[in-house]
């Protein structure tokens, strides 16, 4: 059964001038960890606001646990947890007061559902009397997750929970999600492409549309171009020189090397090597694309500016 079904959802602003969501359709299975991957402005937050019954779509239809987001909004609100991108807990209440407030709102107690939040809450317990506003970024995020979980929702919506968080805290957050996932359906959005591989399935989004939807492996498999890693002593010069070559579809820095994409067989390694012979220390290696390479290949035609 599908936990979430989205059919042809469109949402516009400014009298139709801005299309936040453009005919978006997908479904999420029970127990799935589903990722919406894309930059700011892709439409991730709009989608969350519609699915959590906070906004109305211009057109289209959506269901959460078989309930309609417009007709059955009250019933949906009882069964979902939502962690917005912006920290939305009460800054003047302590850690414990926030959690018990959210439990009470849903007619439950911390004790009743403690097993679901236990793993996360034990890390917060030493600070339970601290005001939420005085917590560090990583701790705020853990408290927000606890508050979104305390009523044992069937579906959890997490809007960019790791934005602005350092890489180590991001990894810890994802480990928590993976542990929760066996018990709950999770839809999570992120601008960090490296987090995509931690999801069961992902939708790559840009400008209000889903460009591709598949498992992370499936998305990588559908990458049809050839991808090479190239490095040399003058990386900045190398970028310009490679982009000036014919039939190069993309050339961008990836850590210590450049990822160079072109239609299969447009270039051979030897051919490239001689075209770039003025550069010293040249290392050219074929590589398997990551999700970020796939995302960039999908948006390249639109990336004019």
């Amino acid at each position: 059964m599908s936990a979430v079904i989205v059919e042809h959802i469109t949402k516009t602003f400014n009298k139709g001038k801005i299309k936040a969501l453009d005919n978006v359709s997908f479904s999420v299975q029970e127990g799935e960890l589903f990722g919406l991957i894309g930059p700011d402005g892709a439409g991730k937050t709009s989608l969350f606001r519609i699915l959590t019954t906070l906004w109305l779509a211009d057109s289209g239809k959506a269901e959460v646990k078989g309930l309609d987001v417009v007709q059955d909004y009250k019933a949906i609100r009882k069964r979902i947890g939502y962690m917005p991108g912006k920290f939305s807990l009460y800054q003047d209440l302590t850690v414990e007061e926030n959690l018990s407030f959210f439990a009470t709102l849903f007619n439950t107690t911390i004790r009743e559902n403690y097993d679901l939040v236990k793993d996360i809450y034990v890390q917060l317990e030493p600070f339970k009397d601290r005001k939420a506003g005085k917590l560090s970024g990583g701790m705020k995020q853990k408290l927000a997750l606890c508050c979104a979980l305390i009523h044992k929702p069937d579906v959890l919506f997490l809007d960019e929970p790791t934005t602005g968080v350092d890489p180590v805290s991001r990894k810890e957050f994802w480990e928590m999600l993976r542990r929760l996932q066996s018990r709950i359906t999770i839809i999570v959005s992120t601008p960090y492409m490296d987090e995509a591989t931690l999801c069961d399935r992902i939708a790559l989004m840009q400008d209000g549309r889903i460009m591709q939807l598949d498992t992370p492996e499936g998305i990588v498999r559908s990458f049809n171009d050839t991808l090479l890693s190239i490095r040399g002593n003058d990386m900045f010069g190398l970028i310009g020189a490679i982009r000036a070559l014919p039939e190069i579809s993309g050339c961008y820095a990836f850590g210590e090397s450049l990822h160079v994409r072109f239609p299969a067989d447009a270039w051979t390694e030897t051919g490239l090597r001689s075209a770039l012979e003025q550069f010293s220390g040249l290392v050219i290696e074929p590589i398997t694309p990551g999700i970020e390479d796939c995302f960039m290949a999908l948006i390249e035609p639109h990336a004019a500016h």
């Binding site: 894309g38 930059p39 700011d40 402005g41 917590l135 560090s136 970024g137 990583g138 701790m139 934005t163 602005g164 968080v165 350092d166 890489p167 180590v168 805290s169 990894k171 601008p191 492409m193 840009q206 900045f236 970028i239 961008y252 820095a253 990836f254 850590g255 210590e256 970020e292 995302f295 960039m296 948006i299 390249e300 990336a303 500016h305």
Partner: protein
């Protein structure tokens, strides 16, 4: 690069808030034209250190010079020779592009004739000529970032400080932003940058990694990988940051 002018020199730079030592005796030097990556987990002390370097917070102990001036006693001279851009604050959203350019050019002390030429050149380079009258809030995020960076260096500072400049944009826009950084460095502008993207750390000439207010590692990305016998900066960062005693902002 080792023989060029030193643009930042920090000696035992320290900041305490009551009992808490946010920045704990850090020492480093940044050379002219260098792209220096300043990494650390949330709460490691990066922002506090950066605030001292840009002259808006006074060290409790130790000292630093930026662009040849002492950050504690000559902070106004420091401020005239640096540029600053952060993700949180960079441009005024409610006024048009052109007015932002004039405002920033003005506070950086550009004369009106100079400013006119610079503004025109800037709009042309950024391909934003048709958007001079557009409110900044109506620009795509990637354009805002490029504009904010260009304005942070409109007065050709010795050094520009970038505090997580690339958050939230798509991977191509993020890389194009780094190409602007390279171009500025090639013109001799020193770049001091913080980021949570570990692949961006690799684009820096040198990086430092802060843990608990101290600099736990500092070198070129290649040397750090040799030193830590690791294939990525991400792995080194994780190893060092997991050893941290404190957490938080």
């Amino acid at each position: 690069m080792q023989h060029t002018e030193q643009v930042i020199q920090a000696v035992n730079l320290t900041k305490r808030f009551g009992e808490f030592t946010a920045v704990d005796h850090i020492n480093f030097t940044v050379h002219q034209g260098e792209v220096f990556g300043f990494l650390g987990a949330n709460g490691a002390g990066k922002t506090t250190a950066m605030k001292m370097l840009i002259g808006i917070s006074t060290p409790t102990e130790g000292s630093a010079t930026v662009a040849g001036f002492d950050i504690a006693t000559q902070s106004e001279s420091v401020k005239q020779r640096i540029g600053y851009m952060s993700q949180k604050f960079s441009l005024y959203e409610d006024i048009p592009v052109m007015e932002n350019i004039r405002f920033f050019g003005g506070i950086y002390g550009l004369r009106s004739k100079e400013l006119k030429t610079k503004a025109a050149a800037l709009l042309e380079t950024l391909e934003m000529g048709s958007h001079a009258k557009t409110l900044v809030r109506d620009l795509p995020l990637g354009w805002k970032q490029k504009l904010a960076f260009s304005l942070a260096i409109i007065h050709e500072p010795k050094i520009v400080f970038l505090d997580e400049p690339t958050g939230g944009v798509d991977p191509i826009t993020r890389r194009k932003f780094w190409e602007l950084i390279y171009a500025a460095a090639a013109r001799g502008i020193t770049v001091f940058v913080t980021t949570h993207y570990m692949d961006e750390a690799e684009y820096c000439n040198r990086i430092s990694i802060m843990v608990d207010g101290r600099i736990a590692a500092m070198d070129t990305p290649a040397n750090l990988k040799t030193q830590f016998q690791s294939t990525s900066i991400d792995a080194i960062f994780t190893q060092l940051a997991r050893g941290a005693q404190r957490s938080g902002d």
